[in-house]
């Protein structure tokens, strides 16, 4: 399971809970560099472990539907680029009122849906309302609930009124697909405005996209994209080795990388991920109510060694919830860094000179069991006994996430900009610092991004110093591709995989 802040979804591959804690987003990265001559009518075969559940991202399509359709088949008013910037897409322009409560969007003209209908403001209103509907399972629903009213003064103007200021509003709109208001059967078909149309979806196997001749912007650099779905990472790697696929969107098997690294025919790209592995304390449960105990545990674990044992040379250490791609990143790895002597001293000060014992609720799939065993051996050195309690994603959700019935747990948090959850005292980890809560609220109501960034940097530092959780490491984002390919996204921010710039040598 992966925790992302708005929707809990279960991926097709693992029995995983994806807790997507979304806030507002960004990241940085670059595209792979361009190659020489390329085939304009190539078919690009993409290998992935994440098949969509259905094709509607407001009806539980999961991360697979974002990967395949976001930006390729459907477009938003804004686009989140692979390096984390928010660009205008279907919005030609927009204006925010001085009080930050009214946004007026002018739509790009001449945009056609795949069915041939022209894009109008009514479609935008419909699409936004679809995300906000009662039965919507959109990951961004809670972020967009500040929307009070949507008006359509003319066919190309949309006026949105908010109930309170929200600096991340435009960012959040990049997750709202603009869909033809008359479209039907969105779970198995589509009607978007993107550079590709859906050609065929064979469930359990593959999904293909064809270049859309009537696209309003630059045509896609390839004629067809086929996403091939695998349940087994080895099967996926074999497909790449036999040229059945040209690129793997997210390599999840570090052991397999050596065979691609040593081979000239492939390129292993080490991009920036936003997925963090957390040892999350229950800050409301003894002994983790004591900041010194939390600091001691954080200092007693050698994160570098853990990262190496799980991911080899890949991935990064982080000293807080903020990955380098978030605008409010600061290198805080020095705060509560690995220091056994200091850990022992802190424990003594907290009255636990002889250590203590606690139960670690550990999700039953990789890398959690490995991490739990490692933490157990590390903490034994400072006298702390860890009891590992292995649980299923479902149990995790009920016991830890909903009932807060735990002392400490392990969990991966997927999304960018999810630091803000430390401003919510009711969140599962129970971190309750009034100052931090206030900073987070002020940041969302900030007038400029500079103000927002400044406030969230304070939050970042404070939570790190408080050892609100122990941030073990940042996952790597590894895209492995055939050397004939260029132009593919490297960071895959929030599971996106824009395919329209991919060029394949003839």
């Amino acid at each position: 399971m992966r925790l992302s802040t708005s929707t809990l979804y279960v991926t097709a591959t693992t029995a995983g809970l994806a807790l997507v804690l979304t806030a507002c987003g960004g990241g940085s990265g670059a595209k792979s560099t361009s190659a020489g001559t390329w085939d304009k009518n190539a078919t690009v075969n993409v290998g992935s472990l994440y098949e969509p559940q259905n094709l509607d991202n407001t009806a539980g399509g999961g991360q697979g539907v974002t990967e395949a359709l976001n930006g390729n088949v459907y477009e938003g008013l804004f686009r989140l680029t692979d390096d984390g910037k928010v660009d205008k897409l279907l919005a030609q322009d927009y204006q925010a009122s001085a009080d930050g409560l009214t946004y007026t969007f002018t739509l790009r003209s001449g945009v056609k849906f795949h069915s041939g209908k022209e894009l109008t403001s009514a479609d935008v209103k419909y699409s936004l309302e679809k995300v906000l509907a009662d039965d919507s399972q959109s990951a961004r629903k809670s972020n967009l609930e500040v929307v009070k009213d949507i008006a359509t003064p003319d066919a190309h103007t949309v006026k949105v009124t908010l109930s309170q200021k929200s600096i991340s509003f435009v960012y959040n709109l990049s997750y709202v697909w603009i869909i033809n208001s008359e479209a039907k059967e969105l779970k198995t078909s589509e009607d978007g405005t993107g550079p590709y149309t859906l050609a065929k979806w064979t469930r359990g196997s593959a999904l293909s996209l064809n270049r859309f001749a009537g696209y309003w912007g630059d045509a896609a650099a390839n004629k067809q994209v086929v996403f091939h779905y695998y349940k087994d990472a080895t099967a996926l790697n074999n497909a790449l080795l036999t040229n059945a696929v040209d690129v793997v969107t997210s390599e999840q098997s570090p052991d397999a990388l050596a065979q691609f690294k040593s081979n000239q025919s492939y390129k292993v790209n080490d991009g920036n991920s936003t997925t963090k592995l957390l040892l999350a304390f229950n800050d409301k449960a003894k002994p983790f109510t004591d900041v010194k105990v939390r600091q001691a545990v954080s200092a007693a674990i050698d994160d570098q060694k853990l990262l190496e044992s799980v991911w080899g040379g890949y991935g990064k250490l982080i000293g807080s919830m903020v990955p380098p791609t978030d605008p409010w990143y600061e290198d805080l790895t020095k705060v509560n860094a690995y220091d056994v002597t200091k850990a022992k001293k802190l424990l003594a000060e907290a009255g636990y000179a002889k250590g203590f014992s606690f139960t670690l609720d550990t999700p039953n799939y990789d890398p959690h069991p490995t991490a739990a065993t490692f933490i157990k051996s590390q903490l034994a050195k400072v006298g702390i006994t860890v009891k590992i309690n292995t649980i299923t994603p479902d149990e995790w959700y009920t016991k830890v996430y909903k009932n807060h019935d735990f002392t400490a747990t392990l969990q991966e948090h997927v999304n960018d900009r999810d630091l803000v959850w430390y401003g919510n005292p009711d969140f599962y980890w129970g971190y309750d610092n009034k100052q931090v809560t206030q900073w987070v609220a002020q940041a969302e109501e900030a007038t400029t991004t500079a103000q927002q960034t400044e406030l969230l940097k304070k939050v970042n530092r404070q939570t790190a110093e408080d050892a609100a959780s122990d941030w073990l490491y940042l996952y790597p984002q590894i895209v492995v591709a055939n050397s004939k390919l260029s132009g593919y996204p490297l960071n895959g921010l929030n599971s996106q995989f824009y395919a329209y710039d991919i060029k394949k040598q003839g």
Binding site: N54, G204, A206, Y229, K231, N238, A239, A244
Partner: protein
Amino acid sequence: MGRYLLRRFVFLLVSLALASVVLFVLLRLLPGDPANALTSVGASPEQIAAARHSIGSDRPLPEQFTHWLGQLASGDLGTSFVSSLPVGPEVAARLNVTVPLTLAAFVLAVVIAVPVGFVAAYKRHTWYGALLSGISQLGIAVPVFWLGMILVAVFALNAGWLPSGGFPLDGWSAPADAVRSLVLPVVTIALVMSASLIRYVRSAALDVLGSDYLRTARALGASFPRAMWRHGLRNASVPVISVLGIELASTLLGAVVVESVYALPGLGSLLATGIAQHDYPVIQGVLFVSTLAVLGIGFAADLAQRIIDPRLRGRLSGGAR
């Protein structure tokens, strides 16, 4: 025979009814709430209640069960909780892969096992008879996924003759590609299946070889092949057929490992996904269809035995008269 068929058919229906109760109830004894998968992380109790209501899991179990039976009666397997798509067409699409895969593997396994098993029995005192017997023993111990990996490494990664996995996007509309993609999975299942089949064929053949009727037939002047063909094969096939029925049935769902290794969109992988997601309608749909298939296969095996062995006629399986 007519009466037998009727009774056997009633028996099949009763088994099916019992099986559907068991699978429905057992599924709901599992921990976890499917509504969790349908709601946002911060969902309010009202939202979760609404999700439960939308999938009907807030209704009493007997009501849910009768609702499901009602759907089944009209040929509807329900709608997936997770994808909100109908289960029936999905199961049908997966059968398009699983049925050819299973049948082809089954036929290949029989083609390998019957002659090998007979030779292993007849020539048991020679070195190659012992060798065949030894290899089949070893074959039983080989894990399917390991064999699959080896075959992929040899025939797909090194030789490049066959795809390492996947099924063509166009499915059976691209017959050559579809067949190519099934070759290695079929061989994998067939080899593993034939290993245990060889053991059964060998032991059935040994029984026959030591039997009085074969000796009598030979004493009456029949050549060994003729005696074997007229009396031996027929007698040996009775126990082998019941094993064949069981093997075929277990392969239908047991193909899940092979489907995963070869990335095939089959019934087993649908079941695995359904279980991971607490998607009751999908799990029920797959299990119901496979229960039906297993009972059908059992029926066919029974029938085949009765046709081959007249002594069984007039008896209903299970000892009833």
